[in-house]
Symmetry: none
Subunit: 209 residues, 4 copies
């Protein structure tokens, strides 16, 4: 019962966040969309921030589901790295509103309040857990832990940058498919790792020979 209503309100919130942007979304508007009085929302959510945090949390959960599914279906480490990085990219490319949702946090990050320390850390942890398969795969391909983490962060950065490009059309793309940029980036990373492994192997053989 109550969960059902919460769900309806969350749906309404998503609609309004999409329509008015995150800054423009007022409690009044969300309540109106949900067919409620503003005061009624406070029965289900403690604050506007709590409501937003829940919407965002669901978004990240959906992202994780998608990425994990792709990674689970991949056989080799290089396939897993590719699956995680492109899975992340594809999710947001196909769900631009979830991207907006996520970017709001980064803005919040720019001014330092966020959603309150606890919520903020939980969301960060969720986001990192989505990206971990990239680091794991890199390690499986022979990278040191430090390098593996660097690769994870770098892939995240590249994905986010390309998504921004795609999303805002601020740079003319000259007909480039944005996904091609991401694929090219991932391929290059994988190749570097494989080459490095080969080199190390050769070294080892040489040393032992």
């Amino acid at each position: 019962m109550s969960d059902h209503k919460r769900g309806l309100i969350l749906d309404a919130a998503r609609v309004v966040f999409e329509r008015d942007g995150l800054d423009g979304a007022s409690l009044r508007a969300i309540a109106a969309q949900a067919g409620y009085t503003p005061a009624a929302l406070y029965f289900h959510f403690d604050s506007k921030e709590a409501l937003y945090a829940e919407v965002l949390g669901q978004s990240i959960a959906a992202l994780k589901t998608e990425v994990d599914a792709r990674v689970g279906a991949a056989a080799t480490p290089q396939a897993r790295l590719t699956a995680a990085a492109l899975g992340f990219f594809d999710f947001y490319a196909e769900n631009p509103r979830d991207l907006d949702l996520g970017f709001y946090l980064f803005r919040g990050g720019m001014r330092p309040h966020g959603l309150g320390r606890e919520r903020d850390m939980a969301l960060n942890a969720a986001l990192e857990s989505v990206l971990w398969p990239i680091a794991e795969a890199a390690e499986a391909l022979g990278a040191e832990l430090a390098l593996a983490r660097l690769i994870m962060a770098d892939a995240f950065a590249h994905a986010v940058g390309v998504l921004l490009l795609l999303h805002t059309k601020r740079i003319r793309m000259f007909g480039l498919a944005p996904r091609a940029l991401m694929e090219r980036y991932v391929e290059a990373e994988v190749e570097k790792l494989l080459a490095s492994r080969t080199a190390n192997h050769a070294d080892a053989v040489h040393a032992n020979g």
Copy 2:
């Protein structure tokens, strides 16, 4: 006369944007900082957005000055590519408020908006002109025009992504220096171009031989 006063107001706006953040900056505050009444600003600027657009325009001009200087001092194409990409990155890494200024545009759904079609196109053009040296250098290194543009867009994307990481601290960096990520990316691009040129050259020699 009028230009001088416009300048004073723009300076005041920058001060307030830095002090209060972009969301927190009100016309009242900017006017007060400039020693004017809010109403007086409307004699010089059509709206708050127009004021913001002009501040942003100046920011991009400053970016261009810095990047062009670095590129001009570079001797080889690969040095120019590196200078342009890292110059872009460094400018925003060192001037985070200018980064805020830029990201602000992506708000409210992150679509180009709010500033009106004309202003928006002018800003886009200015931004592209900053990044063109990357494409030019890539061409000088033997890339087709299409690839050169792709490399330009990709470098932009990577820089933006890493800056976001740096700026928001939302992903734990494990002590990584963000600039290292950008350097690593640029080096890899340059190497790919050089390798490609060598290969092409070898092909050509082979074909001719």
Copy 3:
């Protein structure tokens, strides 16, 4: 059963009134303190005001208990007058929240209001019954009924004024002990009564002699 629960709610109300002040005390908070839902309180009390009236009634009952005990232990009329006046003063000096409770009635223009005519008259009657010993003692000391009543009202007024001073610290007290003010006042009244009795007696002797 029902009375027991009423009692629990009234206890909770007292706790919340003390913790949050009278203005800050909301029905929600009282209900939460009592372990109930706000709506549940309406089964036991007609309104927030009714709840307040009952808490106030209990407060006055406690006052009466204390004053009556002191008066009962006093042997002479002058001791009874002193006991009643200082008992009244001490009760509120030691229980400032009860004083708040009483003053709250005077709010909103300080006219008897808000609680309805009936409740108001009952509270007034209860308050008067606390103070009656003063008038009785004055009569026992020879005062006419009219004067006795005047002395009662005057003592009430003085006590309330000093309590206000004590409670709000709005007038610098220069290290004065507030109770000293009240004691001084009561002593003077008693002396006036005794002097008056002596004079009357002398007159009577003279008239008869």
Copy 4:
């Protein structure tokens, strides 16, 4: 011009404070009464508290004017003491709304926020300056400074207590004129002072003789 409008708003505020009580008076209501939008008031006053503080300040200024006039017209110390104490009493007896205004502060005093430290101290100082003639007269009548101050505080307390009685009708007055209570109190104080002076004089004569 501006002062005139401020005056109109202050008048409106007084009307609303009277009509709705001080707690019940909202900015909306004051604005409506003044024929303005709520936002317009913020052009003239910084906050609701500032508005109230000004209304109250004017009230205390009027009180001071009245009391000082009476004191100035009095020839002897005992006449000045009486003039100050009864002047204070009469002002509030005749202007019950000013009494409400003043009591609000005491309530604020009960919960410790008041009007902010500065405003609060200024108002306290103004109030004390009204009452100082009482202490001065007492000293002129031979009281030590400590006693003179005690008499001042005590007279204030008595006046306030009787005014409360008068104002709230919470104690049946049995046809008593409240002013009679105050007069009786003041007369007794004056007599005590005179008696004390006589006694001291006699002592002095005796000591010297």
